[in-house]
């Protein structure tokens, strides 16, 4: 199975049906895979904090959800995490494709990549960097279960080591 197929399988295993997202090049197979599968309810959001809000509302009403975004999108959701998800103890699953490292060509991505993990740590949100196909399903499955059991959000960061990174990163030397 590919990394995106494993993620979709782990979401299904844990009855995570709502997929709210802002598109990203790296996330494309995940977004397309969810859209092609009637098990999932896909919502294309205009902003990442909106996706987090929709996942929060859906959870409270009995539908488990995941918010997909890239690194810069994560930089937008500080208030949604700090004043909604964390204090209300809402197990939002965040899957973040990591830009800004291992061959990034856009300096704007490199700065928000550096603020991401310190921000998660400051908010007390558990996060895992997914870099290896062999451990991917275990980490996903256990982390998602822990999130719902303990009513805590979790951030799952998709490393370029797993996804190959942004295809536009290869061949850029200037």
């Amino acid at each position: 199975m590919t990394w995106s197929e494993i993620i979709l399988a782990a979401l299904k295993d844990n009855e995570v049906r709502l997929v709210a997202y802002v598109p990203d090049n790296i996330l494309t197979p995940l977004v397309k895979g969810a859209a092609a599968d009637t098990y999932f309810v896909s919502v294309g959001a205009a902003r990442e904090d909106e996706a987090v809000g929709t996942v929060a509302g859906a959870f409270m009403a009995g539908l488990r959800g995941v918010a997909l975004m890239q690194t810069s999108g994560f930089a937008l959701i500080g208030n949604a995490l700090g004043s909604l998800v964390v204090p209300y103890q809402i197990p939002a699953i965040l899957i973040i494709s990591e830009r800004g490292t291992m061959g990034e060509f856009n300096i704007g991505q490199t700065l928000v990549a550096r603020t991401m993990r310190p921000m998660l740590d400051a908010l007390g949100i558990m996060h895992h960097t997914l870099a290896d196909l062999a451990t991917l399903r275990f980490i996903l499955d256990r982390s998602i279960k822990q999130a719902f059991t303990t009513r805590a959000p979790v951030a799952l960061i998709l490393s370029p080591l797993l996804t190959g990174g942004n295809p536009a990163s290869s061949g850029q030397l200037l």
Partner: protein, 204 residues
């Protein structure tokens, strides 16, 4: 400015919220934006299906969309101020495209950031929220002309015919109540009200 908005009578949020709550006879979920919007929701009498935001300005509509998707047979109402919706106009395009039949959005528009010192919002200038919503693709978006019109717009089952958006021009009177500032309790009570709590043995 549209003709419709200029024809809208200036109403009172406290009174309109009470009129709304009186018409909720099917355990509809209400997601209220922060500040005066949820002050008036709790002033109308707490209901188990109420959700009160203590922050996350602009996310009442996205949260309500999530509730609406999870429980398509329950009517869901999002209450939001003009300042809040101006912060999150993109969510109107999302709602328009998702087309939840059970979602109604009500915007209280007094043209000011009331709670931070009554600074003017864009709606005090040339921006027309109902027109913005129509442009976003929510075809059923209209201004509330007066109290009787508000009642007439609400005289339908909330779980059908949406998404809809009502914009009400309101005065600058403050909200009358205060929700408990306990987010975990608010969330747990809301989930119990929606039948999704895992702790039925506990009275929250």
């Amino acid at each position: 400015m549209s003709t419709e908005r200029s024809l809208a009578k200036t109403l009172n949020r406290t009174a309109l919220t009470r009129r709304l709550v009186q018409r909720l006879t099917h355990e509809e979920a209400v997601v209220a934006g922060l500040g005066n919007t949820n002050f008036d929701l709790i002033a109308a009498g707490h209901r188990p299906q109420n959700f009160y935001m203590l922050g996350s300005m602009g996310l009442a509509c996205p949260i309500a969309l999530g509730v609406a998707l999870a429980q398509p047979n329950r009517g869901v109402i999002a209450l939001e101020g003009d300042g809040s919706i101006l912060m999150a106009l993109g969510c109107l395009t999302t709602i328009a495209n998702v087309k939840p039949r059970n979602l109604t959005v009500i915007i209280w528009d007094n043209g000011i950031y009331q709670i931070t010192g009554k600074q003017a919002t864009a709606t005090a200038g040339v921006t027309d929220i109902a027109a913005v919503a129509r442009g976003a693709g929510i075809a059923h978006s209209e201004w509330v002309r007066d109290e009787a019109h508000f009642d007439a717009l609400l005289d339908r089952r909330f779980e059908d015919g949406g998404p809809r958006l009502l914009a009400a021009k309101i005065d600058d009177q403050p909200g009358q109540g205060r929700p408990l500032r306990d987010p975990v309790l608010i969330r747990a009570a809301f989930m119990k009200g929606l039948g999704t709590s895992r702790s039925d043995a506990f009275d929250v």
